[in-house]
Symmetry: C2
Subunit: 181 residues, 2 copies
């Protein structure tokens, strides 16, 4: 950030009065520009014991498999965002969303919130965000071709809970080196 | 938003190619400025059956009671943010954080994530954000002097779960008119 989005003047990175960390502050109008983590919402959509994965048509992770997920938009709920992403990335309609995992990616200031959901139907098309949509048995999950560590960890937690026939709500941290804490 | 924070030129509100909603786009450098919901993290801190409330020293809600909560900062986890807010607003050290409620406030693009926590200790001082810190028995919660509907709803869910001796993870929507859905 170089300029004030309100008045167009230059900003300076400094600690405002009564604050404890540097912010971009406008030298002219005084606006303090706070920056905050972004939320990503997504789901493990299940149908007849199979789960829905999408093969990415965009970078990063082009050609690799992922769960439908993406940035929350303003003025939507976590449920609405999750359903929107399932529709945009997989042409999928989902129901019965249940919170499953919250993964902190603090090194890139992201919080992933992943739900389990019932896949009602999919048209297996994606409007350009995915190369391919497919339902996978657990035994056929392409572990070595997953797009992101956070997706691998979400699926790992899911597969660990599944034999119990009960799912917990998990909170974990994913670090830059791929370590889970 | 009027100006590009990257290059300082004017921005226009328009729908970028392959997008489906208006964004502030820079007419000069082409940067698309996405805006996303903010996460607020906070806690119900318990000690000997009592819970910690803070009386706000700032607007909005000056003089009213609230749970320690605030915007997540970049590069922190939801746990770190919750502990920081408990410290900043109540001089409180907390442990054993358990996710308790996620409240969508989509009309103001906020997501509240509230934890239950064990209050280890508090120095009952707050560094200026609170007028007063106090531990309340459930029967003495000042329901008519709470600062925000989201705090009231969080405490209502907590008091509803409590007699069962077990707490669920709740997801709900709070609307502009105060209705919970």
């Amino acid at each position: 950030m170089n300029f004030c989005s309100k008045c167009g003047a230059q900003v300076t990175l400094r600690i405002p009065p009564e604050d404890d960390r540097p912010r971009h502050v406008c030298d002219r109008c005084g606006t303090i520009h706070y920056e905050n983590p972004k939320m990503v919402v997504g789901c493990i959509a299940e149908k007849n014991g199979q789960i829905l994965l999408c093969r990415r048509a965009i970078q990063p992770g082009y050609g690799k498999w992922t769960l439908p997920a993406g940035y929350m938009e303003n003025n939507e709920t976590v449920y609405e965002g999750t359903r929107r992403e399932a529709w945009e990335e997989a042409g999928a309609t989902i129901q019965d969303l249940t919170p499953f995992a919250l993964v902190n990616l603090s090194f890139i200031s992201q919080v992933y919130l992943m739900f389990r959901a019932r896949l009602v139907k999919t048209n297996f098309t994606s409007g350009g965000e995915s190369l391919e949509i497919r339902l996978f048995e657990e035994a056929h999950i392409p572990w070595d071709q997953l797009a992101f560590p956070v997706i691998r960890e979400t699926l790992r937690l899911y597969c660990a809970d599944r034999p119990r026939g009960a799912f917990s709500f998990h909170v974990c941290d994913l670090h830059a080196d791929g370590r889970v804490g």
